[in-house]
């Protein structure tokens, strides 16, 4: 009986993991197209998906480059956007309990969706681990295939502005941001970051305003927490 219940739950996890993978695959197509129309080669665009493998950071890197930012500001923005993965890994470490080479490979799969699927099964470590790897691997496959398809298709497109692809990245950020900006403090931080970034656009090199705006917003949020305590 117990075995049958476990198997049924695993089938459910696999179904969810596949659905999430296919959705992110569609999103990867837009990333691939955007990457090559920004001026990255097909190889560079695909390597980003293979090696960076964290969507928002990849879009951020391409967005900064598209706006004329320097290579280092693009890489730094991508890293800051990806900093949440460090917290996810911190959360996943005791659950996965992997060492050595397996740890190095599992770390690569630590992203929003795989962590969320594992955390949702917090009370059942074996199922949590299964959900983590099923989701991570499903997304890894779909994400990279989608990127390749988008990059090859994007080459044939020509001027990205004709199709509004420059705004596609912005719209992708809106879609990523929306579910996270539920409470008032987070929404306030988002508005502060946007306002500060725009104010310093004429003063700083391209790419830097976004980082400055975000750091100011984080500092204000931490300051408010401290005053409250």
């Amino acid at each position: 009986m117990r075995d049958e219940a476990v198997r049924r739950e695993r089938r459910g996890i696999l179904r969810d993991a596949l659905a999430i993978g296919l959705t992110t695959g569609g999103y990867a197509i837009s990333f691939g197209a955007l990457g090559v129309t920004t001026g990255l080669s097909v190889l560079q665009t695909c390597l980003l998906s293979l090696l960076m493998f964290t969507g928002a950071s990849q879009f951020a890197l391409v967005g900064v480059l598209a706006n004329g930012g320097s290579a280092l500001s693009a890489a730094a923005t991508a890293a800051l956007v990806g900093s949440r993965n460090a917290l996810y890994a911190l959360r996943m470490a005791p659950l996965l309990a992997v060492r050595g080479m397996r740890r190095a490979l599992s770390a690569h799969l630590v992203i929003d969706e795989s962590t969320a699927m594992a955390v949702a099964r917090d009370g059942d470590p074996p199922q949590g681990r299964f959900a983590f790897f099923a989701t991570g691997l499903s997304i890894f496959a779909c994400w990279n295939l989608g990127t390749l398809a988008g990059a090859l298709g994007g080459q044939a497109l020509g001027d990205p502005e004709t199709y509004g692809l420059d705004v596609a990245a912005t719209a992708a950020f809106v879609a990523l941001l929306w579910p996270q900006a539920r409470d008032r403090t987070t929404r306030a931080a988002a508005l502060v970051a946007a306002a500060v970034a725009l104010c310093v656009v004429p003063l700083l090199p391209t790419g830097a305003p976004v980082m400055v705006g975000a750091l100011v917003a984080v500092a204000i949020a931490l300051g408010r927490d401290r005053r409250r305590r």
Partner: protein, 99 residues
Amino acid sequence: MWTAVLVGCAACYLLKVSGFVVPHRLLEDPRVVRAAAVLPVALLAGLIAVQTFATGRALAVDVRVAGLAAAIAAAWLRAPFLVVVVAGAATTAALRAIG
């Protein structure tokens, strides 16, 4: 371009590994948790603002604002991810085609 790609990839991977290596107590510090929750949201908001209103180091209001508005409307209506992206891009493309 290669510098951005390789440095960015290395940094993002090291961040993931760092979470496996640093002591777990760090999660108990509310400042770390708060900063990690606010930072991505703040960065995304900044990127949205800059990509909509800036061209290089100049500020401008143009057709991109309409694309952003369409994307926000779609997100507000709880549209799926791809619908939000397509709404933003298609609105911008249509307005550019008209004028």
